[in-house]
Symmetry: C2
Subunit: 541 residues, 2 copies
């Protein structure tokens, strides 16, 4: 099993024979390096003699920290390539350790998405046998404070993300150990998502123990430490930044609307009920009402990033009971396509930003979740925009019976995505002019054909990621549409009143942050795009 | 009453005598201007002849908009000073209208925090008597589409924020009218908060009908339209931006943690219960547990901006049941003061950013809520940092009995704020090293004196706006402290388990966004700093 791993897994450590060869070579190099580093080392030791941790060369640190503050600079693993010959100090996780006899231990040390190889080897007056033994006993995932000399490695170390150097450790202290057993190793949790397929394809038994999604989520804190997840959530943060940056540049301000509401709004069925002192409240299904009221209050262009709650008992790959909504609303001057085009500009700006600034993270995720690069149309032709009718025609042409296409279900959505990709070479497109009956009561009807509406959905890899529309700003028409959809206008008085006091024409849209992240990276399950996902069966951790 | 208003209120419109004088002067100027503007006007009319709205010079527009899209540029009122002589098109609210005989109507037109005076006056072949009559009938707060010529005004118009020009209207269309009566006028809602005090001081009856806070909040959409509130929420948005910008520059990423939790955590008493399918969930009182788990998951530095829910039945000026938490958590290298200093740097960066970039908005708010400018210490001495003991000593020195000072209550907090302001000339300071018994179970005790803790509060104008600390990262000590505070460790297994898998020393803090906004601007009630505030008695609008 171990041998199989060594050959098959690019993230596994070096083989035994490699280790022996490396050990000999290192012995030579070390002597030369020692001389050069001696002076630096001495200076460092003098400085660190004021630290509690340096009263010995190894062992546990006191719990509290926060006792002295020598201000010794600590470095990032990502910077080590440029520090050949330097004595450095840094905190890191022990991802794996492998003893080589009783005189040497190889460590793979990790910080966020970066890792480096380090070794502790018996050296007279510096590294004792006891220190090597103690090091060998460190549990995987322990957090240590490392002091050592950075050395160019003779060949690239594939098991580390910083592979051109390694660290010869002179002092090693334990900051935080492990209590009990790890639920799975980080190596196992980092294996590509295609393992099973690969092993099945070549007729061999699966080479790796895959970690199931549920096991990951039950032990999310450990799962989140993989390079992949470090990159996934850096990208999630980036999407939020890009969203805000574009909107801020386009005159929007950020608002925060209450999640506690007095009435079950929009559609009563899928709302969570909250005990609120002696009465009840309900969790907002979206900031829809609040952001429209902000428009009636003259804020002109507003956005909100906040949690959205859906009490839908569906356990699909793309539904959560709580997700992050990226919502915006803006006034219209002449035509609702102003909103649709701004939203298009927003998505293009996010896609470009991710590609330009986060290529490294995208590639890291791609190692575990292989995917064709996400494609969109640039240049004068612009984003593909279909009307609902055109989209239906494409599906009918492909053989879907027209009678089944009152709405486009999930299956047909994906089919449409594939057809569009084949024909237009894009993973991103817009469908405009949905039938009125498919949209919520606050959607503005088309001025010429009242069976249609001024509404649109946006798609990524054949799945809906934004739904939006022009909204009804006239209280009389709004009340009429509410009644026609079975909503009592009296139950939403505060909302309708906002329009009675005058409101500009407006429109907007809501984006699911986790869906954008999942579909851009092709993570295949929305739970992977949420740090601590919530679904009907999961409220922990 | 009207006359009193005119003399006393800088935001009121011009007096009747002023209007007459102005009307004569305008008649002359208009003729000269008409010639110059004629050509521009004609071009504009030709262009707009494609728009439905231009088939007449006045009247209501069709409801939907979104029918044609001529792409006529619309301008902002804030840009009008630089457009003398131009024919412009813009959408605005009618804040007030005053007819002058049956040939002229003065309008005060508003966009967000900007306003300008405009007038419709009978002009052969352009503005009919009927148009003037129709204009005079427009309800306050109607939304109109205005076409007109910008003209330098002979003297500064005090009732408008853009007072050096006015607009001679050639076309006027109604976009959205008012149904029913306004709950209060925008003029009334904009009066300074000191009215009563002023009128009491000089022995006269109050000059204005003040709009009570409850009336405002019941009709929040109208209330939010005041210049003051437009500025308040622009500043709220700015605080979020400044918070993120500083943290992003310091290596933090944004996370989103679930508000739905499986167990009532931290302190069970003040948690809202949610019906969750066949069981129950609870609303997060803070992202405390999640952000610490993000640290245990190696994200190193994280922040979150999200709603925080407190089921406390207190109706004070500074408590909401739902507010926006600006939370952060970071690893510690040597000492928890690293966190405290980063938080201090964050506040200084927010204060400086507000002062440098939003002076205009701060001044607008200051007109309605007069306040001494918020003060903090710059320069080498830095922010004032007191220990809890020193803070107590200051209060004792001022006459507060030491026996009553186990904790610092709200009253003594404010007293301390005044004493510190008098002695150190700052509205912003830090208290460090709170007694352990005043802090939650996850607070790290002081390494030398276990009755103290590695924790701090930050204050603005004598009120707490941040609470933070180093946290316990050791599962054994954490369980012990939980038991000592009456919390069953088994009830928070997912949380403790995170530390069993190894966690770096860390600390952080939580800031109340609305409190920072309220105290920086001295709004006196936190409800004014929340767009749609929630308290035990208010769930609407």
């Amino acid at each position: 099993m171990a041998d199989l791993q060594e050959t098959a897994d690019p993230t596994a450590g070096p083989s035994k024979s490699e280790l022996k060869k490396r050990a000999k070579a290192l012995e030579k190099e070390k002597k030369a390096a020692e001389k050069a580093a001696k002076q630096q080392e001495l200076a460092m030791q003098q400085a660190s003699s004021e630290v509690d941790c340096a009263t010995e060369f190894y062992g546990p640190l006191p719990l509290h920290q926060s006792q002295t503050r020598p201000g010794l600079p600590r470095v990032q693993i990502s910077s080590l390539s440029a520090r050949d010959g330097e004595t450095v100090l840094f905190r890191a996780r022990v991802q794996t350790s492998r003893a080589q006899g009783n005189k040497m231990v190889f460590l793979n040390l990790r910080q966020r998405a970066d890792s480096v190889q380090a070794l502790v080897t018996v050296t007279p007056e510096k590294v004792s046998k006891q220190m090597v033994k103690w090091t060998a006993g460190l549990a995987d995932e322990s957090i240590v404070l490392v002091q050592g000399i950075v050395k160019k490695s003779p060949e690239l170390i594939k098991s580390a993300s910083v592979g051109d150097v390694e660290v010869l450790i002179s002092q090693l202290h334990l900051i935080s150990g492990i209590e009990g057993r790890l639920p799975f190793t980080l190596d196992d949790a980092s294996r590509p998502d295609t393992d099973e397929a690969v092993s099945e394809a070549d007729g061999k038994a699966p080479q790796f123990s895959r970690v199931l999604l549920d096991t990951r989520l039950n032990n999310r804190v450990v799962d989140l430490r993989t390079q992949t997840n470090q990159a996934v959530f850096k990208l999630q943060s980036a999407i939020g930044d890009l969203f805000r940056q574009f909107l801020s540049n386009n005159g929007f301000i950020e608002i925060h609307s209450p999640k506690l509401q007095g009435a079950a709004t929009e559609s009563g069925a899928s709302v969570f009920k909250v005990s609120y002192f002696k009465g009840n409240a309900f969790l907002a299904q979206s900031p829809q009402l609040a952001k429209q009221m902000a428009i009636a209050a003259d804020f002109e262009r507003v956005y909100e990033i906040g949690p959205v709650f859906r009490a839908e008992d569906s356990n699909t790959h793309r539904h959560l009971t709580e997700f992050m909504g990226l919502d915006l609303e803006m006034t219209i001057e002449e035509h609702y396509h102003e909103v649709m085009e701004l939203l298009d500009g927003l998505f293009l700006s996010m896609f470009r930003g991710l590609k330009e600034k986060y290529q490294n993270e995208i590639e890291i995720v791609g190692k575990q979740f292989p995917a064709d690069e996400f494609k969109w149309r640039e240049g004068p032709e612009g984003t593909l925009k279909l009307t609902f009718r055109q989209a239906i025609d494409i599906l009918v042409e492909d053989g879907v019976p027209r009678e089944s296409l009152d709405d486009i279900n999930t299956e047909n959505e994906k089919r449409l995505g594939r057809l569009v990709k084949a024909k237009y070479d894009t993973d991103y497109f817009i469908i405009d002019k949905f039938p009125m009956e498919l949209r919520p009561f606050y959607t503005m009807p088309d001025p010429e054909d009242p069976t249609l509406s001024n509404s649109y959905d946006f798609f990524m890899r054949g799945e809906e990621i934004l739904s939006g529309a022009q909204r009804i700003h006239d209280p009389t028409l709004l009340a009429e549409k509410m009644r026609s959809k079975g909503v009592d206008p009296d139950s939403m008085k505060g909302y309708i009143d906002a329009f009675r006091m005058g409101c500009a024409p407006h429109g907007g849209g809501g984006i699911g942050l986790e869906r954008v992240l999942m579909l851009f990276l092709k993570l295949n399950n929305i739970r992977r795009a949420s740090m601590f996902p919530r679904d009907p069966k999961r409220l922990e951790p």
